[in-house]
Amino acid sequence: MSVQQRIAARVAPHIPRGAVVNLGIGIPTLVADHLPLDHAYLQTENGLLGVGPTPAPDEVDPDLVHAGKQPVTARPGASYFSSSASFGMIRSGRVEIAVLGALQIDAQGRIANWAIPGRPVLGVGGAMDLLVGARTVIVATTHTAKDGAAKIVSEATFPLTAQRPVDLVVTEAATFRVTPDGLELVEIAEDHDLEWVQAHTTAPYRVAIDERGAVHA
């Protein structure tokens, strides 16, 4: 399983049954592969609630895609709506969970995922709306950048996507809960250890698990 798929698999248990969920482009999209078919209601901001699995190549409908512009299907009970209605649903809190990617996460749990300093800023998409609107935001990201730099940092050097902190940060190595007092390490993946997490995380965080891995709140 690729690291992306492993991260997605680690996010899946955080999606309650029956939740309305928006999966961002990239790793977040893969979360659907780790959920039972009728576990959640997937919303895509281009105007569909009830996203189903990728169709067989001969069953692709060019009018039916998710926000990553890949072909999808629609589940029974699905509905189509305009972009304005879709973001109305998002901003008013009817999307219960948004799973988003991130370039950086700061010590307060705020994320940066839309702009890189020094490069022209020509894309923002729906991430800012999801961050102010979704009731719970989960970040699904590799623990470090491609160059090995920490992504979970004291202060973001990339522009923030919103002032609102996310709720949970899930990487291939660890899971952090965001609290009013900052980040809490609540889980370490089986194939990683605390030492690795410490070496690859520059933000301060409270370790809220004991030696056996159980969370102590």
Partner: protein, 228 residues
């Protein structure tokens, strides 16, 4: 087929209305009695918690009918809407100081509800500018034309009338009984939909669903449906 759990709850009218607490703000759909959730409104009369209410609705029913009954029983503290003159009981209650009234142009009322349901804080409209209804509202020139500022509206509970729900809570409406219902269905923390029938998932055309299920908290059958 299997359903993503949970399907929308289908409680009794009384159980659904437990969400209405004293002092609550309610949105109630309908244009006069057309498209008004009459079974739910009757249920409010039986519900002791339904008192000291603020009602956001285009009208306040007719004398002794619909919301008009709720008014006569002294359950309504304040009404926000666009046209109350058709019910003389509203005029009387207002004149006797028993009812507070906030009057908005009908389009501004509809827009304020739609904005509340779309996560929009407020908006500017040209309607009512330069009239006595503008009161002391903030003005702003946009593209050379004067506009008035209005905050969006939200409610604790919305009572809406739809033709049918599917088992997930997706709603479709009937003709001009649609009116304020889909707007209100987006703009409250708890949304109770009164319907004539509940159909299986997949029975509604995905292109035709007006209110997607995440907006709908519970569905109750209309008296009309229950009597069948």
């Amino acid at each position: 087929m299997t359903l993503a759990s949970p399907p929308v709850p289908l409680p009794s009218v009384a159980a659904a209305l437990e969400a209405v607490r004293p002092g609550a703000t309610l949105m109630v759909g309908g244009f006069g009695l057309v498209g008004a959730p009459l079974t739910l409104i009757e249920g409010l009369l039986e519900h002791p918690g339904a008192r000291d209410l603020t009602i956001i609705s285009n009208n306040l029913g007719e004398p002794g009918r619909g919301l008009g009954r709720l008014l006569l029983e002294g359950r309504v503290r304040k009404a926000i809407g666009s046209f109350f003159t058709s019910n003389p009981d509203v005029v009387a209650a207002y004149q006797e100081g028993r009812l507070e009234v906030e009057l908005l142009p009908q389009g501004t009322l509809a827009e304020a509800i739609r904005a509340g349901g779309a996560g929009i804080g407020g908006f500017y409209t040209r309607t009512a500018w330069g009239t006595a209804l503008a009161g002391g509202r903030e003005e702003r020139i946009i593209r050379g034309e004067p506009h008035l500022f209005y905050e969006s509206l939200r409610a604790d509970v919305a009572l809406v009338r739809a033709r049918a729900a599917d088992e997930l809570g997706n709603l479709v409406y009937s003709k001009t009984a649609r009116n304020f219902n889909p707007d209100m269905a987006t703009a409250a923390d708890v949304v109770i939909a009164e319907v004539d029938e509940v159909v299986p998932v997949g029975a509604l055309d995905p292109e035709e669903i007006v209110t997607p299920h995440p907006y709908v908290t519970t569905v109750v059958l209309s008296g009309k449906a229950a009597a069948r």
